[in-house]
């Protein structure tokens, strides 16, 4: 049932579906239904991998390694491990939801939209599974294109500017990434991730320290923009406020964070540790900065953007503290952010469909008209601010607790973000849903969620709860890969492993 | 004698060229160019290229320049207006020209292994020429016909008045 072509099939399926979409007639909702079914099949395909994953096995699984281009030595090498496993599934999960979220919102040029939407799925899965640097870079760049075009086509007011900003912001640093990749190739003659890993760690004569440092920095900058990390987040606000929901859901976070884990930690463990102090500082600044700025936003989408910045900075913090639990948590939180942020954006999109504005001040007392919507919004907000039993908490807790021992001061500062997140999210909830009804809400009563919207958001809400309660289902695979990742150069004391008698490291 | 001839006709060349540069009426420039070309033909002779010298006079001075004069007359081109459309030509162009002339001159003068020329030295006969032209360089010669074809074609296409 699960042979080696499944992974290839998973990558190519959305692209193939996109071609079919291009040929379908734009009549009625044919395209929507087709894309929905295709994305559901895609989701099922991505679920194959967790179902057949062999735990405890080192290295990559479902691997395919074929010749592609003889010279330069580029291979079609793909595979999955614990790091990418659930990210692929997450991509699959968000695909049908993205279709559902766009059902009504995309009221013109559905064909173009769904064509690019499906292409985007291929690109994202490709990023997660590519094990050849060339292939990886190709997918990485490819993710930008549907995004930029869709922002331009479906932007609210300043779509074109936002699209340009997004593209240039992310495209320019990937030039540095390409330089770094080419540099590695020049020295080793291979683009293969596995071979590179071995050569970088053992080939002392191949590289000078400085060169490796710069190469690692090149990788990191490109990824940091995509995450985004604090001073590089300039594109996020505009992109969030202009992009169609289905695209904004997937634009930030997972791609960049995955890449940092896979390449900065996997390929350059030593350099990653040299860069870590900077990244930790930026992450903590990002957490607090994002939260504080979110506190004073007047536009919901911008608030969501800064909240995302804050939330993703937690992941960055976790990654660069190099504690097993912390990195586990960072990856787990990456998945969580995908779901929570996605749900938040879908909800905002639903609101926009009804009232046509993201201006917070225009709303008020909405809960009376739309109780179900309000309920879901509160659940999502709670997940976002890390309420225990919901998924956000597990991730945040693992990140902070894991990293605390090594970087007490920074992590303590980061924990303040927990307070601030509650402040801005609950303020939003209060201003929009509670209190007296605003003029707009009073005069334009709008229906509560319909069946489609209910299905969309409830499925995410339930997943938030399940992920908050049964995290080992996910962290098991993650942990297996992360231990290997963190181990090589981790001299810093990891908090003691659990045993019958707790081992104790008393400081002072 | 040889040196005198060189200086005389070399000087004539330069004078003609300068006159071309300085005259504001195109006819005067064209006539100056004829002077340059004819002087060059003499220099070719000095360098032993007899046939070439003849061809220079016939083809260049005779045919091409006549064409120029013909067009000048056709278009009734008068004295050119004094327009100052381009500052860049003076500001960046002249330093460029100066650098060009200096560099080339220095390079040529500092070349040590160049030979010397005498009168009647190494005359090239038509036989030698045709041997190379119609054997070794047959293909370029044939290809030239394509060039001429294109030129005719282009001249016709461009100069024809569209109705």
């Amino acid at each position: 049932m699960l042979n080696e072509t499944t992974l290839t099939l998973t990558i190519l399926f959305p692209a193939a579906a996109a071609l079919v979409v291009a040929l379908l007639p734009s009549r009625g909702r044919v395209i929507q239904w087709f894309t929905l079914i295709a994305s559901l099949i895609f989701f099922l395909l991505t679920l194959q991998f967790p179902a057949h994953f062999t735990y405890g096995q080192q290295g990559f699984q479902f691997e395919v390694n074929r010749d592609w281009i003889a010279s330069p030595n580029i291979r079609y090498h793909i595979g999955l491990d614990g790091i990418s496993l659930w990210l692929v599934a997450l991509t699959g999960f968000l695909a049908p939801l993205g279709v559902l979220a766009s059902w009504k919102a995309i009221d013109h040029h559905a064909k173009e939209f769904y064509f690019l939407f499906l292409l985007q799925q291929t690109a994202m899965v490709g990023v997660f599974v590519a094990l050849d640097m060339f292939l990886y870079y190709a997918f990485w760049e490819l993710t930008l294109v549907p995004m930029a075009i869709l922002i331009a086509m479906f932007g609210r007011e300043r779509g074109v500017q936002a699209a340009l900003k997004f593209f240039v912001y992310t495209f320019l640093p990937s030039a540095l990434l390409l330089v770094a990749i080419l540099f590695l190739y020049a020295r080793t003659g291979t683009f293969d991730f596995v071979q590179l890993q071995a050569m970088v760690s053992h080939g002392g004569s191949l590289f000078s320290e400085r060169a490796l440092y710069w190469a690692a920095l090149g990788f990191l900058v490109a990824f940091a923009v995509k995450v985004p990390v604090f001073p590089l987040h300039g594109w996020l606000g505009d992109t969030f406020s202009e992009a169609p929901t289905a695209m904004a859901m997937v634009v930030a976070g997972k791609l960049g964070l995955y890449s940092i884990l896979r390449f900065n930690l996997g390929l350059f463990p030593v350099q990653a540790r040299q860069l870590a102090p900077w990244m930790i500082a930026l992450a903590v600044i990002g957490i607090l900065y994002g939260a504080l700025v979110a506190l004073v936003q007047r536009d919901m989408k911008r608030l969501a953007a800064y909240a995302t910045l804050s939330g993703l900075s937690f992941c960055v913090l976790g990654i660069f503290c190099f504690a097993v639990s912390g990195v586990d948590g960072a990856l787990y939180q990456t998945i969580n952010e995908g779901i929570i942020g996605g749900a938040l954006l879908i909800l905002l999109g639903i609101l926009y469909e009804r009232y046509g504005t993201y201006e917070i001040a225009a709303y008020g007392g909405l809960a009376a008209h739309m109780p179900l919507f309000a309920t879901l919004f509160v659940i999502v907000s709670l997940a976002l601010i890390g309420l225990p039993m919901l998924n956000g908490f597990v991730g945040e807790f693992l990140i902070l607790s894991g990293s605390f021992a090594g970087h007490t001061g920074w992590v303590a500062a980061a924990t303040v973000g927990v307070i601030l997140s509650a402040a801005y999210m609950l303020s939003l909830v209060q201003k929009v849903f509670y209190g007296g009804q605003s003029e707009m809400v009073r005069e334009q009563p709008r229906p509560d969620l319909n069946f489609r919207e209910n299905v969309t958001v409830w499925s995410m809400a339930v997943l938030m709860l399940v992920m908050g309660l049964a995290s080992p289902v996910w962290t098991r695979a993650i942990d297996g890969a992360v231990v290997k990742l963190v181990q090589p150069a981790s001299q810093a004391a990891i908090p003691c492993v659990l045993g019958p008698t707790p081992c104790v490291a008393v400081q002072q | 004698m040889y040196l005198v001839l060189f200086i005389l006709f070399g000087g004539l060349c330069v004078a003609g060229a300068l006159n071309l540069l300085l005259q504001r009426h195109p006819i005067n420039s064209a006539l100056s160019l004829v002077v340059v070309m004819t002087s060059l033909a003499v220099l070719y002779l000095l360098l032993g290229a007899e046939f070439l010298a003849a061809a220079q006079v016939i083809v260049y001075s005779g045919a091409i320049m006549v064409l120029f004069v013909f067009v000048i007359m056709l278009l009734n081109a008068g004295e050119e207006e004094r327009t100052f459309g381009s500052k860049a030509a003076y500001i960046v162009g002249f330093p460029g020209v100066a650098a060009l002339i200096c560099t080339l001159t220095i390079v040529f003068l500092s070349a040590r292994h160049l030979g010397e020329t005498r009168l009647g030295d190494s005359l090239v006969s038509v036989h030698d020429l045709s041997l190379v032209l119609f054997r070794d360089l047959l293909l370029p010669f044939e290809v030239t016909s394509v060039l001429i074809l294109i030129a005719i074609l282009g001249a016709v296409a461009l100069a024809r008045k569209e109705s």
């Binding site: 173009e112 495209f171 | 293909l139 370029p140 290809v143 074609l153 016709v156």
Partner: protein, 505 residues
Amino acid sequence: MMQIETGAQVPQVYRILPEVLLTITGVLIMLVEPLMPRGASRKPMGVLALLGSLAALFASFWQMGLPPGTAYYGVVQTDAFSVFFHVLITSIIVVSILVSLDTFDRKTENTGEFYALAVLGAVGMCIMSSAVELLLVFIGLEISSISTYIMAGFRKRSGKSPESALKYFLLGSFATAFFLYGIALTFGATGTTNISQIAALFRQSETPAFGYVAMTMILIGLGFKVSAAPFHIWTPDVYEGAPSPVVGLMSTAPKAAAFAVLLRIAYGAYPWLHAHWFLLIWLMAAISMTVGNLGALSQQNVKRMLAYSSIAHGGYLLVAFTALSREGIAAATFYTATYAATNVGIFAIVSHAGGYEERLNSITDYRGLAYRSPLLGGALALFLLSLIGIPFTAGFFGKFYVFAAALDSGVVWLTIFGLVNSGIAAFYYLRLLTSVYSKPMTEAQLATIPALKPSLLAALFVTVTATLILGIFPGRTLALARAGAATYAVSGSSTSVGTANFSLR
């Protein structure tokens, strides 16, 4: 470049078969054209030209089977390198004729001449790529140049087209003089103008300084032809004024041929001067990329923008030269193909959308093109993405290969510079792209876009396919480009000059 002795005797004419076929086609058109009634459609001429150039294309492919060798007393040489460019040039001609078939028909009385010029111009370009005698190179260069000068001025009724032709012609001839001077100095330094002998003879030259100056002069002349900065200055004006199908042609085919010549001369004739031309080309590449991209940044006119883009792409291509390696040659060769596939395609769309009268000029005129015609919009998007260098398009792999080769040779800074430049470039391509995909201001503007004709569809099919194939499965083409590059390595290692000095860094 040494004389490659042909083991099996091949009839000499086989070596120039594509050129012969093209010439015959051109002459045929010239003979038949006057017989056609005035005002009648000249499409049959176009079809004739198409067939002729297709025949030349197949002949070029067929040449692949020939053993490498020279003909006509060593003035032309067919090898993988020349075949690559022959195929490329004839393909470009085929597509360009397809594009102009409907754009030009009945719009001008000189349509027949146009086809003849295109086909005969291709003769010159093909010859440039296979000539190993500088005289022949010069003749080829002139054929290709003159034909493009004329074609640039084809829209006589508009004020811009003759101006474009004049500028191109005057400045082009100006640059040709430099090129010619370079040849003269080469002859002075070595006593020969045969590329395959220059390298060897230059070693014994008593006036090596002439060689240096000669190489510089040749670089100036060819730099002009490939619109490399600082000799790029004519490009925007000429591209703006010339008819769009012609721009598609002249921004690719003559450039490809000129690059072929530059490769032959730099690597074949003057390998000993690599330190010298490396520096000059390095500078030209850096300036070209910067000037091209910055100039295009706030350019509103689409054709001018593409002209600046073409300058920048010339710069990227020159980066490959600085690799000083077989990979570099292959990369440069390959890049000409990727750029040609994309650019011919993009100008096919520009020609069609604007028509002969060139109704669409500024970027905002293109607003909503994707809504009017999704196919045109989609294809344009693909080409623009390819120009940006988005993966799975030709442009990406071309750029990737070029920079890989450069970095492989340790040309780090130019690579970084180039890649950052390509990042900046994304901005202006995207402006057009987003414009194409944003809602049109008025419907009327786009209503003038004619319906798609089969010939244009065919042209788009070819270019889109080429763009994708070169992006996803570049293996075949790459192998051919590498084989072409290998011809230099062969000459390097087997001649007496040795390669120690030129050995790849």
